[in-house]
């Protein structure tokens, strides 16, 4: 069977989905921990919020690595 580039496109789609599962689970856990921490100690809410945003941006940065690989696969001519 001739597959051509179809497997590359399929890989790109599955890869993007897996990457999103990873980042959704990770940042979800992060947000849950932040909310629990600020519920226990409301006076550190500001610091928790800043740290949460920084950590979320870093996790998202790692995810976008995976996304760049998927885009390279999807754009194979």
């Amino acid at each position: 069977m001739e597959f051509g580039n179809s497997l590359a496109h399929l890989g790109a789609g599955i890869g993007a989905g897996l990457a999103i599962i990873g980042v959704g689970a990770g940042i979800g856990r992060l947000a849950a921990a932040a909310m629990e921490g600020s519920a226990r100690q409301p006076q550190v809410l500001g610091e928790i919020r800043t740290t949460m945003i920084i950590a979320a941006a870093l996790i998202e940065g790692a995810t976008l690595f995976a996304l760049v690989v998927c885009v390279l696969l999807a754009l194979k001519a």
């Binding site: 945003i53 920084i54 941006a57 870093l58 998202e60 940065g61 790692a62 976008l64 690595f65 996304l67 760049v68 885009v71 390279l72 754009l75 194979k76 001519a77």
Partner: protein
């Protein structure tokens, strides 16, 4: 490599339906660097090519956007710093807010003493990236930081500053010795040295790819949402799904533009701090 692949896909699909809507061509035209500048009322203006000796350097859209960002940063900084009044005016207060934030929270906390040496570089990086990111959200403009060459240049600067900070404090030999954490059992050395050497290069690489991917992803999502409307040829879909989602993503882009500038600056300050004053 990516650019050629996208443009090849765009041309191939263009040849298919004459006059049919082509999402690949739309994405290629708006996300990739072009040699034309889109000016309102004048359409596409072709940009010149600079000839320096044997090199031909075409001026592209992203280059023009970087120049505009540089001029904006220069003007705002110079005007804000001009009067140095004891009771600052509004622009000076605003700029001072950000400057003090970068100096205290980012530089002094991460770098410790001698932090003030690196503050001008960190401020330049922060303001330049933030201005480039926000300029990309305006109509007719392009995001310079969505070009991997631009972010690679910024990451290269961060790399040079990190190594320079370490070499300045400890000398070349001392900086190389700082790679190895003290108190390490000798049998771990063959693993630690390659890992640390790789780490020197992966950290700026991550800075580069993070900024590039964040800036490109936002625009690609918005363009894709609008492309769906034309592919489905449905007005209802456009009104109730595409435009609200695109508006929402644009709002997120406002936050992401500032956040990515902040993350780049914070990580650069952290790396400079780790280089100049290793916590070991």
């Amino acid at each position: 490599m990516t650019e050629e692949a996208v443009q090849a896909a765009g041309h191939a699909a263009e040849a298919g339906g004459e006059g049919a809507f082509n999402p690949n061509a739309l994405l290629a035209e708006h996300v990739l660097d072009q040699r034309t500048l889109e000016v309102p009322f004048l359409g596409h203006v072709h940009l010149p090519i600079l000839h320096l000796g044997p090199y031909a350097l075409p001026i592209t859209r992203h280059v023009v956007m970087m120049w505009i960002a540089a001029v904006i940063v220069l003007l705002v900084s110079c005007v804000a710093a001009r009067r140095r009044a004891r009771v600052p005016g509004r622009l000076q207060s605003l700029v001072e807010l950000i400057v003090v934030f970068v100096r205290d929270e980012l530089a002094r906390k991460s770098i410790g003493h001698h932090a003030d040496r690196y503050v001008p570089f960190l401020l330049t990086v922060f303001f330049f990236i933030m201005t480039c990111n926000y300029l990309g959200l305006l109509p007719y403009a392009a995001t310079a930081t969505s070009n991997i060459s631009v972010t690679a240049g910024l990451a290269l600067l961060a790399f040079v500053m990190t190594q320079a900070a370490g070499i300045r404090e400890y000398g070349v030999a001392g900086h190389a010795k700082n790679l190895i954490p003290p108190g390490l059992p000798a049998w771990l050395l063959p693993i630690m040295i390659p890992v640390e050497l790789l780490g020197i290069f992966t950290k700026p690489f991550a800075l580069c790819v993070r900024l590039f991917a964040n800036m490109t992803a936002g625009h690609v999502i918005i363009l894709s949402l609008f492309s769906i409307v034309f592919l489905l040829k449905s007005v209802m879909f456009g009104v109730f799904v595409s435009v609200p989602f695109a508006l929402f993503i644009n709002g997120i882009e406002l936050l992401v533009a500032f956040l990515q500038a902040y993350i780049f600056t914070m990580l650069t300050a952290l790396f400079i701090g780790m280089s100049a004053h290793p916590a070991h």
